[in-house]
Symmetry: C2
Subunit: 307 residues, 2 copies
């Protein structure tokens, strides 16, 4: 394969959003009461979360999804958060919602307990244990797939790699939100999957085996060009803000992959920013629309011919 091709998440995400927009317009025409609704729950006031949420709300609006922001103070208790989530479970104007992580709270809150209180049918980030269990056991029908790994699969497919049989995929990271569901999806795609993490020894040796490499390690610029198998597809999930005196803000955003040294060796590589980030939001919108369509179907104004 040709080397150094850029997997342009920003423009792929844009085209996905415009398809979603068209589909929503069509559905609204056919079903005048159809109005997909999304909510984002935030605890506290982290700067990065504020930016992510602003983008999520902006793009929701752009494609025709009604989005609301439920913001709790840093002093909110777990009980208060759970009742906010349960209110959204019961709110017919909200088809799906997410709890923005990490929480910014002065109270002891168990985030996993809280995400598992989200109705599985409204759980757009796929973090409820019920959804995680379905995903991890290969039940991909009727399950919401976490947005970031879903976007990574979409990116891999866009390189032309739609059949992963016989391919080796290496995932660096095993978090609930990225690494673990990513591994589940790759296994489901029939790749042979190697799961690496901070306790892995000789990481470059494992990375060398990867036809497909997904890095979600929160380690700025960790993966170097000479670690790669020539021709690998490289998906960089990392978003790290590092000091950079040459920038006006004194910082810049980098991935977990050393883009400069990896680009000439990889067949395809995602940039940071403009790779996985915009895809995550596009998948969030896609999941929200799926929830809304599911409800529409259940309300049985839906005909089988729609899909």
């Amino acid at each position: 394969a040709e080397r150094g091709q850029i997997l342009d998440g920003a423009s792929i995400a844009k085209s996905i959003r415009s398809k979603l927009k068209e589909e929503i317009v069509e559905l609204k025409t056919k079903f005048p009461t159809f109005s997909p609704g999304l909510a984002v729950v935030q605890v506290g006031n982290r700067e990065d979360s504020n930016i992510y949420i602003r983008n999520k709300l902006k793009f929701s609006k752009e494609v025709g999804i009604e989005a609301k922001h439920v913001k709790l103070s840093t002093t909110a208790t777990q009980a208060e958060l759970v009742s906010a989530l349960e209110r959204l479970n019961g709110d017919p104007s909200v088809d799906g919602f997410i709890l923005q992580l990490p929480l910014d709270s002065s109270e002891p809150i168990d985030a996993d307990f809280c995400t598992s209180r989200i109705d599985p049918a409204k759980d757009i980030d796929g973090l409820n244990f019920w959804n995680a269990g379905k995903l991890s056991r290969g039940h991909l029908k009727d399950v919401l797939i976490p947005c970031t790994p879903k976007g990574c699969i979409e990116l891999i497919n866009r390189t032309g790699c739609t059949n992963m049989e016989g391919k080796v995929a290496v995932v660096i990271g095993r978090s609930k939100i990225v690494g673990s569901p990513m591994k589940d999806l790759l296994i489901n795609c029939n790749a042979t999957v190697i799961v690496c993490h901070s306790k892995t020894e000789n990481l470059p040796e494992k990375v060398k085996m990867a036809d497909i490499l997904v890095v979600a390690a929160r380690q700025p610029l960790m993966v170097k060009g000479d670690w790669l198998k020539p021709g690998a597809i490289v998906i960089d999930v990392g978003m790290n803000s590092i000091p950079d005196a040459t920038k006006a803000k004194g910082r810049r955003l980098v991935g977990d992959v050393d883009f400069e040294s990896c680009k000439p060796i990889a067949s395809w590589i995602t940039p940071v920013p403009g790779g996985v980030g915009p895809m995550t939001i596009a998948m969030l919108l896609q999941n929200a629309l799926e929830c809304a369509k599911h409800r529409l179907k259940k309300q049985s104004q839906f005909t089988w011919s729609m899909r």
Copy 2:
């Protein structure tokens, strides 16, 4: 490490059972109403299932667990099976139960739908999606772990390998009941895990990397000695009945590993029979006791000092 040591599941399982028996006697002395109860639900009449179930009931009795066999006919419908499961969910004499798989039914029954109707707190095989989700996301507190993979970890630990950091573990197979939860547990033990299955190319090359190898592929005698990394720990989950004219029954039981060629290369290896099989039953009893203790604790006759 020394080569060719036999990991004697039969005797390890026996010592686990006698510990369980002691613990149950002790609990019954302290709490006279304590009476752990297990049920095994069977649909149909498969010969192999009959044998497994007979063993499960026999060993339950041996350690002091009240076990009942709920046998439905091959013509039972899904609705009938689900109501049998729901009856057990509500039955205070049953602390935990399993649905024996595969089902032997003339009716269309979705086994996953049914196992997910089992109360997560009584789900001794850990197949409810809620339990699978917890396990696959590393929440091992308060979750029932599928018996076969749990037994495999116990066996690995018994070799002296209690810290898997920096080790490579290869799992062959990705089924819901063995391969997938096995991989989850190994990741949780901090091994670097390679997941292989029928679509994996060049399997011997992957196996060669394994410090720890777990084979659950349903492929008689597949793994050969020259595939192994010298000194590997080899856990053979396979139970395959193959023709053998030299035997009275005309058949014999073999694993997925070619024991003869692998034994001299491995540091430790499980035999078949007498390796993983008896451990699976021991873990079933352990899980049943865990359920019973959990209930006892909830009934709060339990003091924190007990554990």
